[in-house]
């Protein structure tokens, strides 16, 4: 038998230690393979780093550097400066990490790099909490969510704060490309990575990535729950090119109610327990409806 040359060669080698049902590892693999081997990845601390580079192994078949939680953007600035010296202008430089990195601890440093206009593709694996440290709330955690630092009790309904609108913050920096996606539609994510790769300047993609243990979701529902986030309007999927809304993923005509999305996840289970919780569910439905209106998702 003739052995065919492996067609399915992946730039992400086997051996990661991510959980079953991890959305991040799927998105990461797709992103790197879409960008190709002329890519340098600067990663933040978090699940995307810990599950991929356990010494002496590494899943990355492209150059990868991890320095700290908050600084991959300025590290990438330095990498870019050297690529310029070496006249290598055909290399994709990627900064990736979790929502804790993007929404909170790295925000100022990313803002600096966005302002400098560094030619970097930023990919945020948004699992809506600090998952690598065991699910504490971040600036991305949605209202109502149970996290270890916003535990629901008989006196509390979980997180009381709204999710930060990071795409709007990115847009306020004048980024030429800002998009959201979910692991519920990977081909959409892939197309966005492809499109972003062809644009020069700072580009931001925020991909909604299920965290099975952190959200208390059955691994078999990992993709379904991400799809429902989009279909309910809770997680609007859109694309801004040069500051203009250029495309959106429509919600189905029979738009599912937010309960359909919530009921699959342990992190929202307590909301049904009391009046406060039910009020939050109402607020979430209102938020979803407003998103549909704001981005024209119908």
């Amino acid at each position: 038998m003739k052995i065919k040359k492996e067609k399915s060669y992946s730039l992400i080698a086997p051996g990661h230690t991510a959980c079953v049902g991890c959305g991040m590892i799927v998105a990461l693999t797709m992103a790197v393979n879409t960008l190709g081997d002329k890519t340098i990845v600067c990663g933040a601390t978090g699940c995307s780093e810990v599950t991929t580079t356990k010494y002496p192994a590494s899943v990355f078949r492209v150059p990868y550097i991890h320095s700290l939680f908050e600084n991959p953007a300025p590290v990438a600035t330095g990498v870019l400066a050297m690529l310029k010296r070496k006249k290598q202008d055909d290399v994709n430089v990627v900064v990736h990490g979790g929502d804790g990195f993007f929404f909170d601890i790295g925000l100022a440093l990313n803002s600096g790099a966005w302002t400098r206009g560094d030619n970097i593709l930023y990919i945020c694996y948004d699992n809506e909490a600090y998952m690598n440290t065991g699910a504490q709330s971040s600036g991305s955690t949605p209202i109502g969510s149970y996290t270890m630092t916003t535990p629901a009790t008989s006196f509390s309904t979980g997180n009381l704060l709204h999710k930060k609108d990071l795409p709007a913050i990115a847009l306020a920096h004048g980024l030429p490309y800002v998009a959201t996606a979910t692991v519920g539609d990977l081909s959409d994510f892939r197309e966005k990575v492809k499109k972003a790769a062809a644009i020069k300047g700072p580009r931001y993609i925020q991909v909604y990535s299920t965290c099975a243990p952190g959200w208390n979701v059955e691994a078999c529902n990992a993709i379904k729950v991400a799809k429902l986030a989009q279909e309910t309007g809770l997680y609007p999927v859109f694309e801004y090119v040069n500051g203009r809304l250029s495309s959106v993923m429509k919600v189905p005509n029979e738009t599912p109610r937010v309960e359909r999305f919530l009921e699959l996840q342990g992190r929202f289970r307590h909301l049904g327990n009391n009046e406060e919780g039910k009020k939050i569910i109402k607020r979430m439905q209102k938020q979803a409806d407003e998103n549909i209106e704001r981005f024209g998702l119908r």
């Binding site: 780093e49 150059p63 991890h66 600035t77 330095g78 400098r116």
Partner: protein
């Protein structure tokens, strides 16, 4: 050729002549003149490097880290609060084994806020895994940067050159800034070893997640390579002398041949101590003065040490610690051999303990010396250390 220029300009010119690829920084007094001058050199096409004004010191340190990880020769400079903000990156740069070179224009740390010179900031990074050199004057500041690049690139260990804020950075004195061509004879073009940098043709992972099975080995290796800097400094200074006609020792001694009392210090205050040493030695060597100071309980011992010596060999001296990391234990021991009275003057304090230099000297002399060692943390926040104060310290030792 010597030129009368400001310390910051001298260091900036020397760094530019080392031909770095990437310079990144953030403003903080008293470091600012250095990077302003570098920006001017670049914008007037007198030097060719990428200059990035960062959005914070944290970013500046990360930018040079990234550039070094991609194979570049890099430079940054900061002071006090800037260094403290950088600190997490400072540790990671050493851990990633990147040959970044930094100037620390030494300044007091907040609170209370104070922009003047001391060396508390330097002590904050002493355990980070960097080589640490201290300049006594602006010529040393210039030369130590050139040596720092050579050693950092050889050992893959970052290096910081400390120069006292204002006292050196803002002082105009005659300095010889070596030309690019001269420097090239000592410091070759930097070429990072294969598989140690980010290169799409040879993909490697830098900064992996390391479990207890392997972590300690990484740290041990850093320690070994950092310790190797002690020998390398001696070796490189032989070459340095051939090219530039000057040389440095990790521990330098100035004063009487057989000193009765020695002050150990570092940085620019060494100059003031040298002056005091000269003055004291000229008085001490008047026969009457000398006998009067030696009439104390250590007199006998000192007589023995000095037996057969010429009167002119006696007196006091000063030890200048040029290399603080790695700490040159052996050299310190050799230089202080036989001296029974030692004082340490330093512009820093290890709160809850003593001074940073004091800790090192005592550890280095443990089991080798029975000397009495006095420790003085002084001159904090820019307060002058005067010759008078130094003289009093010597006199107390000699009593």
């Amino acid at each position: 050729m010597k030129k009368c220029i400001e310390g910051s300009e001298a260091v900036a010119s020397a760094v530019a002549n080392c031909q770095p690829d990437v310079v990144a920084s953030y403003p903080i007094t008293p470091q600012t003149h250095i990077v302003e001058y570098l920006a001017w050199l670049k914008n007037s096409h007198r030097a060719d490097f990428e200059f990035i004004q960062a959005d914070s010191e944290f970013a500046a340190a990360s930018i040079v880290q990234g550039a070094a990880a991609a194979g570049g020769r890099t430079y940054t400079a900061t002071s006090a609060q800037g260094l403290l903000l950088m600190m997490e990156v400072v540790y990671a740069t050493a851990g990633l084994r990147l040959p970044v070179v930094m100037t620390l224009a030494n300044r007091a740390v907040s609170a209370p806020i104070n922009i003047w010179n001391d060396q508390q900031d330097a002590m904050a990074m002493r355990d980070a895994g960097w080589m640490m050199l201290f300049a006594e004057d602006n010529q040393a500041a210039v030369d130590l940067h050139i040596i720092a690049y050579r050693m950092a690139e050889e050992l893959r260990v970052p290096a910081v050159v400390n120069m006292d804020g204002f006292i050196l950075t803002h002082t105009v004195e005659p300095v010889d800034v070596p030309s690019k061509n001269q420097i090239r004879q000592f410091l070759p073009r930097y070429k990072a070893a294969k598989n140690t940098i980010l290169d799409v043709n040879h993909p490697v992972t830098l900064g992996a997640f390391v479990t207890p099975e392997h972590y300690q080995e990484f740290r041990q290796e850093l320690q070994q390579d950092l310790l190797a800097a002690e020998g390398l400094f001696i070796k490189e200074n032989k070459k340095f002398k051939q090219v530039f006609g000057r040389e440095y020792k990790s521990v330098e001694y100035y004063g009487a041949k057989k000193p009765e009392a020695v002050i150990i210090s570092f940085g620019s205050v060494v100059g003031t101590i040298k002056d005091t040493v000269d003055e004291l030695n000229s008085t001490l060597r008047e026969p009457s003065a000398f006998t009067s100071v030696s009439a104390d309980k250590h007199g006998d011992k000192r007589e023995r040490i000095n037996q057969g010596d010429k009167q002119g060999d006696r007196g006091v001296g000063v030890v200048n610690v040029v290399m603080f990391r790695p700490f040159p234990k052996k050299e310190i021991g050799e230089v202080l051999n036989g001296c029974e009275k030692i004082a340490i003057i330093e512009k820093d304090i290890a709160f809850g303990s003593t001074g940073g230099l004091d800790l090192e000297v005592k550890a280095a002399l443990y089991g080798k010396s029975s000397a009495e060692i006095k420790s003085y943390s002084m001159g904090l926040g820019g307060r002058d250390i005067t010759k008078e104060e130094i003289r009093v310290i010597f006199e107390k030792m000699l009593k």
